[in-house]
């Protein structure tokens, strides 16, 4: 039998943390894990849902090894997964710049950046495999930026004092994803991966083994073009469907990014870990109207040369808000470079959570610089003076162009206006060291899982984690599971378990279609988003979170009684797709609020206003909350059960995060 939590506690054995010193754990694991021989690999099928960095790299690598892979994505091509939008870069501990970097330092920065709420063993492994990722990408033909000598260039990102970020202009995510996509395309061409585009997973199929234990054995998916519901079998299921930031409606995520696969796993017994850890990215283009469909990120790399400020004088801020004054006209002595003032050691390159909260603090005090009062300046005038406009254009030209197209203002002449927005979710499905969930045969990779980033993710680490999971971790660890499955034959999708799962999906769709109410899906989603932003956003309080839960419950009622979905279920129907996703966002939003309410401390992206230092920094409560908060599903409309995985820091001393000195 699989290990279960004991008295609500996940033990290190259940988390499968290998024995030994930190730097030997992964090697020890690989030396002793079970493998599957080539002849047996051919007999095993693996479903991979998602084609982002994690999904595509996993699907390609597993197929190269000889497994049969079924790969699914909701877009019209696997190349369009939202990893493509990552701009700034990918971290690795190469120390090519000779500036003192090492695997340990990348590990330490990541675990400190995550406010000591991640597993030591996982984070160390991530830092350990980071170098192989860069080698792999270069071998695939990823055109990383280079120096004139022909070697790879690096730049700095938040939360680090070394330059360890590899980049390809402002399109690093695109180039890495296209690298993984090309490897995936090669396997599709060879017939080792069967690709299903415009398919959306709607449920997981569980079948009991000979010991009566549930195992993930397939999925139910909807063909988004025909509306047909289809069944797929596999020996193991891997989910890499990204984060749930779109719960907030407005986020930097793509329009179709969603958390539904996560909720399907959760309802089948996979724990949802740390749902309240959401990252608010400090440098996004501010909101401009109620019709707005999404927020656009401006890369963190801009903080290498851009300086963030607001006016020192309230009267200047008032004029900026009224549109009678331009940022460039405010003299140097009247500018408050508040990050440099508060955090001299890291300055504009403090981690994202710190930068976002500092922007909110200034705007709350009335120093916001646009008509809504919800924006700060990101100014390149010093960089242009120091480096010249051409150099700045070469480094950030495409980002400046993107900004100008949206805002209709030239950022070379007047400082950019930026404001924080929801960007990434550190929380996600709980996985053990093998990236297996608490459901046997169900694996979760990339942003969709909870591992590695703790309570806050550092810039350029999402790409690193996605590719680490897909290229170098899962292809090993999944074999330890599959080695016991070689005698399990392929199962028919006519089995009653598949039929029952499909019927449940059909019933849910019928229920939604038959409501025929008065509200569009988006109108309800926007309402949910506002509640999330107001009460479960950058500053949270017990009272606010209780209000959020109450309001989300009301929204759930409204949705299930008054949503209107036009068209038919058995054809292409975007509104039905959105409704199915919103049904899950409502549940996720509630889970985020419940988790945030229970976590009576501030850490990383989770800031409870009751828990802060006198100068407004996050105040952790290590004696009470040094654990992964895992939520177990107990039934529809029932409160979830809290299970804890203690985080005993064995190798690293926990300190108060300090970016000041």
């Amino acid at each position: 039998m699989a290990l279960q939590p004991q008295n609500g506690i996940i033990t290190p054995e259940m988390a499968k943390i290998p024995q030994g010193p930190l730097e030997k754990k992964w090697t020890n694991y690989k030396d002793h894990q079970k493998l599957v021989n080539p002849a047996n690999k051919r007999k095993l099928d693996i479903i991979v849902v998602g084609t982002g960095l994690a999904g595509a790299s996993a699907a390609a690598s597993l197929a190269e090894m000889g497994f049969n892979v079924l790969n699914f994505c909701i877009q019209d091509s696997p190349r369009r997964a939202h990893s493509i939008a990552a701009q700034g870069g990918i971290n690795a501990a190469k120390n090519y710049q000779n500036d003192g970097d090492s695997i340990y330092r990348l590990y330490y920065d990541t675990i400190k950046g995550g406010d000591y709420r991640a597993r030591e063993a996982n984070v160390y492994r991530l830092a350990e495999v980071s170098n192989s990722i860069i080698d792999q990408c270069v071998a695939q033909g990823v055109p990383f930026a280079r120096e004139y000598g022909g070697l790879l260039d690096n730049r700095s990102f938040g939360g680090a004092q070394v330059s360890r970020t590899f980049y390809a202009k402002g399109q690093t995510g695109q180039q890495l994803l296209l690298g993984a996509y090309s490897a995936l395309s090669r396997q599709i061409g060879k017939g080792k991966v069967k690709m299903y585009t415009r398919y959306e997973m709607l449920d997981l199929v569980m079948i009991k083994d000979e010991n009566g234990e549930d195992r993930a054995r397939g999925i139910i998916a909807r063909n988004l073009v025909t509306g047909r519901i289809e069944r797929f079998f596999a020996h193991a299921v891997v989910i890499g469907t990204g984060g749930y930031g779109n719960t907030f409606f407005l986020s930097t995520n793509a329009m179709a990014s969603n958390g539904s696969a996560a909720m399907q796993m959760y309802r089948h017994g996979a724990f949802f870990a740390n749902p309240c850890y959401a990252q608010i990215h400090p440098t996004c283009i501010p909101k401009h109207g109620d019709f707005q469909s999404k927020l656009t990120l401006m890369s963190e790399s801009l903080r290498n040369d851009g300086r963030i400020w607001v006016p020192k004088k309230l009267e200047d801020a008032k004029k900026l808000q009224a549109g009678t004054l331009k940022g460039r006209d405010i003299p140097e002595e009247d500018r408050d470079y508040y990050l440099e003032r508060r955090y001299p050691a890291f300055g504009n390159l403090v981690p994202r959570d710190v930068a976002s909260r500092a922007a909110k603090e200034r705007c709350d005090k009335g120093f916001g610089v646009n008509n809504t009062g919800l924006a700060v300046f990101l100014d390149f005038s010093d960089a242009i003076k120091r480096l010249g406009k051409d150099v700045v254009a070469q480094k950030y030209g495409n980002l400046f162009q993107m900004y100008e197209k949206i805002v209709d203002e030239n950022p070379y002449e007047n400082p950019m206006m930026i404001f924080p927005a929801i960007h990434y979710t550190m929380g996600g499905i709980w996985v053990d060291y093998e990236l297996q969930t608490s459901v046997k045969g169900l694996f979760c990779i990339g942003e969709a899982n909870f591992s590695d980033h703790g309570a806050n993710r550092l810039g350029a680490s999402a790409l690193m984690q996605g590719l680490a999971d897909g290229y170098f971790v899962l292809p090993y660890t999944i074999q330890n599971y599959l080695a016991d499955q070689i005698s399990v034959p392929r199962m028919s999708t006519d089995l009653p378990e598949f039929a029952a799962a499909e019927k449940a999906v059909q019933d849910k769709i019928q229920k939604l279609m038959s409501i025929q109410g008065k509200r569009s899906v988006d109108s309800i989603h926007k309402e949910l988003g506002l509640i999330m932003w107001d009460f479960v956003g950058m500053g949270r309080t017990a009272e606010g979170l209780k209000t959020a839960i109450k309001k989300i419950d009301e929204i759930k009622k409204e949705f299930w009684s008054n949503v209107f979905i036009p068209g038919k279920a058995d054809s292409l129907n975007n509104e039905l797709e959105k409704a199915l996703r919103l049904a899950d966002f409502i549940e996720i939003g509630r889970l985020m609020a419940v988790d945030a309410l229970h976590r009576e401390e501030s850490c990383g992206g989770h800031f409870r206003e009751e828990y802060q230092t006198p100068d407004g920094e996050a105040l952790r409560q290590d004696d009470k909350f040094s654990y992964v908060g895992c939520w177990k599903y107990t039934g529809e409309d029932k409160e979830p059960e809290l299970i804890k995985e203690p985080l005993d820091y064995e190798f690293t001393e926990r300190k108060t995060r300090n970016y000041k000195a």
Partner: protein, 251 residues
């Protein structure tokens, strides 16, 4: 300054791949010019839904110009009347009060309509599957700095690699040729030492697949590069031709 404008939109409506399509005209009032073009369609769709009508199906996802999903022919141009942008980056400030805006799906034999403004671009994936890769498996590769690559070469490869696979090039071409798309990938990989080894095989395989899938021939009119949202250069087509001819000579 951005204002509110009143517009008419003339949209191609087609219920399915085999159905007869037609233009439908809708009127919209008080559209803020700061809104993006796709937000204007969102507003129109909300209106249609409130009238219990079928909303317009169109492809879109990242809405920041990088995923390549959006694919609208606006007033006779792929991605509309602005330069170096995708449809999702087009803003209503490019249109004036009282204007009638015509919106069509990509026009190309190789991209059949699925519904309304949504087309099937899987042909591009198939071309990639034929050879748009370097044949390396995960693991066992040399150190990333083992081979130095001159910066100008790496930069040129990056420019070619910036293609987002949206299909505007084939949609803009009077012959429906996919040469700019194919040449961008062939160039990127042929320029880099990692991809050079398979350059000949790759060029032949991708061109053969392109021909098989019903894309037209290139007659160097340059419409593709003019409409490309990422300014992928025509020089890539010249490089593809060179690679292709060299490969054929070697045969």
């Amino acid at each position: 300054m951005d204002q509110n404008i009143n517009i008419k939109v003339k949209v191609w409506r087609q219920a399915g791949p085999k159905e007869q399509g037609h233009f439908e005209t809708y009127e919209l009032q008080n559209i803020f010019q700061g809104a993006s073009f796709l937000e204007m369609i969102d507003i129109l769709n909300e209106k249609l839904i409130s009238e219990h009508k079928d909303p317009i199906a169109f492809d879109h996802d990242c809405r920041e110009g990088i995923c390549g999903m959006c694919s609208l022919y606006v007033n006779g141009h792929p991605h509309g009347p602005d330069q170096e942008i995708t449809t999702c980056q087009l803003h209503m400030r490019k249109f004036h009060d009282g204007e009638t805006i015509t919106i069509e799906p990509w026009r190309s034999r190789a991209f059949p309509v699925i519904k309304d403004l949504m087309v099937d671009r899987s042909a591009y994936d198939k071309i990639m599957q034929a050879g748009g890769f370097v044949s390396v498996n995960t693991g066992g590769v040399p150190d990333a700095n083992a081979i130095a690559i001159p910066k100008p070469v790496a930069d040129e490869a990056m420019d070619a690699a910036s293609c987002i696979g949206c299909g505007a090039c084939a949609a803009a071409c009077k012959n429906g040729s996919a040469m700019l798309f194919v040449s961008a990938k062939v160039s990127q990989l042929a320029l880099l030492p990692q991809g050079k080894i398979e350059a000949a095989r790759r060029a032949k395989a991708m061109v053969a697949k392109m021909d098989e899938l019903g894309f037209g021939n290139c007659t160097n009119t340059g419409a593709c590069a003019a409409e490309c949202p990422k300014s992928v250069s025509l020089a890539n087509i010249a490089r593809l031709n060179r690679e292709f001819i060299c490969a054929k000579f070697k045969d």
